[in-house]
Symmetry: C2
Subunit: 378 residues, 2 copies
Amino acid sequence: MSLANRPDIISFAGGMPGNELFPVEDVKEIINNLSPQQWVDAMQYGPTAGYPPLIEAIKAWLKGKGFPVETNQVIITTGSLQALNITSKIFIDPEDTVLVENPSFIGAISAFRSYQAKIKGVAIDADGIVIDELKKELDTTNPKFLYIMPNFHNPAGLIYSSQRREELLTAMANTNIPIVEDDAYGELLFDDDYKKDIVPLKCRAQNEQQIIYCGSFSKIFGPGLRLGYMLVPNEIFRNAEICKQSMDACTPCISQVLAHQFMISGRMQRYIDHIRPIYKKRRDFMLETLQRYLPKEATFVRPHGGFYIWVKMPQGVDETELLKLVIDAGAVFVVGATFDPDEQPNGHIRISYCNTPDEQIEKGIKIIGDTMKRLMAR
Amino acid sequence: MSLANRPDIISFAGGMPGNELFPVEDVKEIINNLSPQQWVDAMQYGPTAGYPPLIEAIKAWLKGKGFPVETNQVIITTGSLQALNITSKIFIDPEDTVLVENPSFIGAISAFRSYQAKIKGVAIDADGIVIDELKKELDTTNPKFLYIMPNFHNPAGLIYSSQRREELLTAMANTNIPIVEDDAYGELLFDDDYKKDIVPLKCRAQNEQQIIYCGSFSKIFGPGLRLGYMLVPNEIFRNAEICKQSMDACTPCISQVLAHQFMISGRMQRYIDHIRPIYKKRRDFMLETLQRYLPKEATFVRPHGGFYIWVKMPQGVDETELLKLVIDAGAVFVVGATFDPDEQPNGHIRISYCNTPDEQIEKGIKIIGDTMKRLMAR
């Protein structure tokens, strides 16, 4: 059993929704009201690109948010990680370069690496990827795509500013290099002031720009359903469908039928409205305890949504040593090097508040803060 | 919409279970009796190798059938097609050779091809793969593995004889080349006389022989759940788990929780006992109508289980031309070339009886027989 799941350890390590928050009653109601045809759809093989009613529901949902659904197509994937595998299969030959933010989502890095890509990290600052650094890489490498997480970045917790989004689109225009935009946490905005900023690149870009937009049901329904989707230009869609077909024939139909009912009945929107303030409260409490227990030399950016806080170590505190001592004391987090494509230490740790109750947050953060102070005092 | 799904066309093309046979009431009962913890297990991320209680249930099931579960490990996959992807990812580099039977399962061929394997077909006869032909390939190519379907072969409908199984194991021993044994239809034996023959290679082989055994819930629960598994030696397990992690993190947990209850409650065995005679009756009726309507020059082997009958064309009947005319008349099947790794015509067609009610079987087979006779009379 991994440390992150051990009941005697307070875990800030995972990126999983709160165990107590799943919409179980909704699922029961949906299941008990499926028609005979919906049962067949749930149990039988389905079309490679997805269950048609769910595709329509996703398109309507995305259209309402300003996505270019008329000029793009939806393909439903077995979790959004599969979308990254499909993208890899289409674009990566061994030794090809892929650009990612540094730090980046570890699942994406390992998916790209499994296709033998060379992964090149590009620095980020508080507003997103650093454009000058990106341009340098565009000039010197020949990347197959750029993978980014502009909303509620994992692990850095940031959102790209509107200005940075526009600068990024400008920098990438005319390069013909696709942008893979991962928006797994997109619905989990806590601070309304940032509503305009979080509008995805896919909604901002010119139609000609190749943007592969990846969405997920993991944070707004349940990761156990393994449901994600891609919104992609037509040319990419045809290749994506072929790749998907050879990978697992179709996405779990039972999950798709449930998600379709969850969406069209209005339950999904209600569920999002329900969990958003809960996660927000958890974030607020986490920030409060960090301020209370961490030495003031440890700094962090206030995340405006999502699951993570990215904490910069005080001078003289080694995050790997910190982790070891914190585990001994009964808590766990993830060291920053995990998210670096070259696994280099970066003086940061990632702390999640998504699946930890308040009293555990308090106890666990106190352990981290006390241990930091002990290390600083040496 | 594909021809195989058009309501106005009688389809013998698919490899899908009967729409009316899914254990819907079982699933409802299971769902309505899940404990709160089981709901969390169903909705949350799960371990990469699978939901531990389901792994245990599968091991117990396999142990009862004589599988070497103590010296091997189970990994649960998103359909058994993912097991073939995992195997490909472990063993295939671009331009590597993979041996398959000719004909072979199209899903396997496209999975291996998606990893840029060269696919080499080895002839089969009524008892299985032709050993001399296999030896020739082993001597001249350097295959990464051999993929076979010894039980209720798709598309050829045959089962390997016990003798051929032993000859195959002997031919492969000391080669260090893994055998990938696909047993998706293994529970669907209709004729008890063949009980001894269908014992899998994995149960017959010495422990040192590397056999990757692939099982599936698609035919004994529902393909819409996307549930399969591999039973593999420890060395392969470690690599398989890494590959699986980068592909989709974990197999749909909701499907795994359902399958676990389906197995341990005895419902799965009852369901298998229920569907076996139904498919058997369908096979019998299909054989009867084939005898009644096809010209005697069209020959076929009586399948002892599974979903398919492999029909050899009479002299002078081109299967592609036949298909065109049969579609015009309102039925559809699959031409043999589809299952040839080089897509060469082989004078055969595959007819499925799995998802076609009796009256449609009669009407559709009459169309095929009449059209054949018309083509022969030219």
